[in-house]
Assembly symmetry: C2
Homo-oligomer: 441 residues x 2
């Protein structure tokens, strides 16, 4: 499994993409050179790079590297043993480069969660057949070595579930909303100014980025094929300052979580994957992970609960993850991408829509008039939804007032029917806002 | 690096010690057999075992394993490729077995922190020379894959410091003391009844077990030789219910931490290793790690802060760690024990006694009479110790009352001089209790 190269004296790296991450990798390899030399059997050297604009000032010395205008050319470059793909995107140049590199028998290190979410299983299979690494520690949870932990450190366990805060932008926005009482749009605009959110924020705030990462964690956790399409995804646009206040009052925090669970009923196995804003008990460890930090919680049948927390994005953490993959390759440590060989990855069907069962938070806005609460409560009763608590305040006849319910264990399908019926009640003046309550510890 | 064995069809394991951990390994290998088969190139099979009492009922089927009365015989057993040493102790049979196994070219997996703390560097060197693994994930922080995280996942970083809750017994006792207001001796007795503390608790409550683990983390973090003797160690026997109350009042929690830091002043490099009870801000993540959980926090120059939390002991977590090491060996993944080759491990001197600088908590018990506070305050002033706060309460002339000070940045040496002088003040009726305040985030 050792790396072969012409000189035999270095692991030679070609980097495709010189944005924040690519430049971070160049910087790390230079600044921590002594550390790497102590730990690796041979030096890790950048030999070639590719990016869109050759003249852009990137504050690092690129003069010693060969320049390829076409990133795919890195796969054919004679002085490249490993391709680092940090271009991004689920197709285009990134995909072409990785496929070409594998075809040429070169190792691949990537930070590209979108690509793995869409094409992970197929790429893992090709890499295995070619005997090369497809490594992607940087794709999930930034600097947290969670892929290594799950694929190796916790690999002896039957994983029961995995969940986490997988998107730093959303976590930053929700933290700011809670700390300042401001609304989503306002905090998003500020996050964009500060560079914590993209100009087009939808990949982050609509939960897609978190879902990409969750699909990868799921495959590693359960030894199954990547199933991004099987994830139920929603984001944080609908979380209001009012919900955050109610969450605090009820003893919860609101987090965007990705949650994945194996439902094993004998012959019937299903995977439930969800990405959405939800309430978690304010004393749960994950409730305390704020700002741009990510966290991943795994539950294994022998190890119990493990929690890993760290920076989810940014130049330093991502470069740390990319170079740890390069070190694994230099050390001859190559495993199947999703831990189990691609041919053994199971196809486990997604749990059917609406099957999730748990407590829920339902906030309605009603015109306060006699009989409204009775009408709403009757709908809950008719759908067999058992209430755990109700909050109504600031009543003054004719006002629009929020009425908040929390339920005992209820299926998502029941809650959906309740919401549909509530929409037909004339006193209910806007669509109810629903969030699951996750009783995490 | 692949494992060689006669049959070529299995990784054959000999387990020395059939206490909680050894039995856990047997159970895990049986119960999670399907998981292991999916992830490993060949089965991991126990072939031989050794323990003191052959007839003891251990609730697992041992009938298919060869029995060795002498654990060291496992090293010579023809059907053993890997020895799992879970006897414990820094010498005796454990040491003899490991040395013999290495000499016979067999891999070693151990949970023995005492042995590695005392003899780690030498054993690492022999294992490397013999080309075998010396793996010990279970020795530090139980089920948390912290050795793998640091040795591989965060290996690209210059580690600045590492600290953690490394002893679950102490953390359980301190958590109980806080939650119930009871005194140490009382809670310890209960923990012993519940099996959370040993009959002879001194390894745990005096900080020695945590120091064993810290010495190993330090070697991995800084690429240096294991230096257990260089650790300043104290435990939790002196923590009183009163200190815990004051900690809460001041916004802190009391934790037994192991802390290790590289002090790099150009040519002058020192390592500061400390194990002691200390105060941490109650909003720091580590303050929220309660009960039998362990936590390790690392700070790397690129990755920033990483936190790993999990169960620090017990059958399941320890077996999970041992088997993850076995899987690494089965997968042909063998690294130098402390990540860097033994010959490159640096000898970095310990920071001199008393050199630690930070804020401190000092609690004195005084007889309340006019002028006492002035006298005590004058001692602080004379030693240039700058006070951050003072708490004195429940005064009634002639009473014994606690007087609590917290200081600004002060050296341990200054604080020691203050304590010495306080001991000579007649109104100070018992030795002052001192704890460092660690401003962690």
């Amino acid at each position: 499994m050792a790396v072969e190269n012409a000189s035999g004296r270095a692991l030679r790296v070609g980097i495709a993409g010189l944005g924040t991450v690519g430049v971070g990798v160049v910087r790390l390899l230079a600044e921590n050179r002594d550390i790497l030399l102590q730990h690796c059997p041979w030096p890790i050297e950048v030999t070639a790079v590719s990016a869109r604009d050759r003249r852009k000032n990137r504050d690092v010395d690129l003069s010693k590297f060969d320049w390829c205008d076409d990133p795919v050319a890195l796969a054919d470059h004679p002085k490249v043993d490993v391709v680092v793909e940090v271009i991004g995107g689920s197709g285009g140049a990134a995909k072409a480069l990785i496929e070409r590199a594998i075809a040429k028998g070169k190792h691949v290190v990537t930070a590209n969660k979108a690509l793995l979410a869409e094409h992970g299983t197929a790429l893992a299979r090709s890499a295995e057949q070619a005997g090369v690494a497809l490594a992607y520690e940087a794709a999930v949870a930034g600097g947290i070595p969670i892929i290594k932990s799950m694929r190796e450190g916790l690999a002896a366990n039957r994983i029961e579930h995995v969940y986490g805060i997988l998107n730093g932008t959303c976590n930053y926005i929700l933290t700011q909303m809670r700390e300042t009482g401001r609304e989503f749009a306002d905090v998003l605009a500020e996050a964009q100014q500060l560079g914590y959110a993209e100009a087009d924020p939808s990949f982050d705030v609509d939960g897609i980025d978190a879902a990409h990462k969750l699909s990868i964690l799921t495959a590693v956790a359960f030894g199954c094929e990547v199933d991004f399409a099987g994830i139920k995804i929603s984001g944080i646009r609908n979380v209001s300052a009012m919900d955050i206040e109610y969450a605090s009052e009820l003893g919860y925090r609101i987090k965007l979580l990705g949650l994945s669970r194996l439902i094993d009923q004998g012959a019937e196995r299903r995977i439930e994957q969800r990405v959405h804003a939800c309430m978690v008990p304010q004393n749960a460890l994950i409730a305390k992970v704020d700002g741009v930090y990510n966290a991943v919680v795994t539950q294994g049948n022998f190890v119990g609960q493990n929690v890993a927390i760290g920076r989810g994005a940014g130049q330093g953490p991502t470069a740390s993850a990319v170079v740890s993959d390069l070190m694994d390759i230099a050390r001859g440590r190559i495993l199947p991408a999703f831990s189990a060989p691609a041919d053994t990855l199971k196809k486990i069907p997604a749990a059917p829509e609406g099957s999730h069962v748990g407590p829920f938070y339902i906030r309605t806005m009603v015109v306060d008039r006699p009989g409204v609460i009775a009408e709403v409560a009757a709908i809950m009763r008719d759908e067999n939804v058992s209430l755990e608590s109700m909050i109504q305040r600031a009543r003054s006849p004719g006002d629009r007032v929020p009425v908040v319910f929390t339920t005992h264990e209820t299926s998502q399908a029941q809650v959906s029917r309740v919401v549909q019926k509530l929409g037909k009640v004339s006193a209910v003046v806007e669509p109810p806002h629903v969030m699951s309550i996750e009783q995490l510890s």
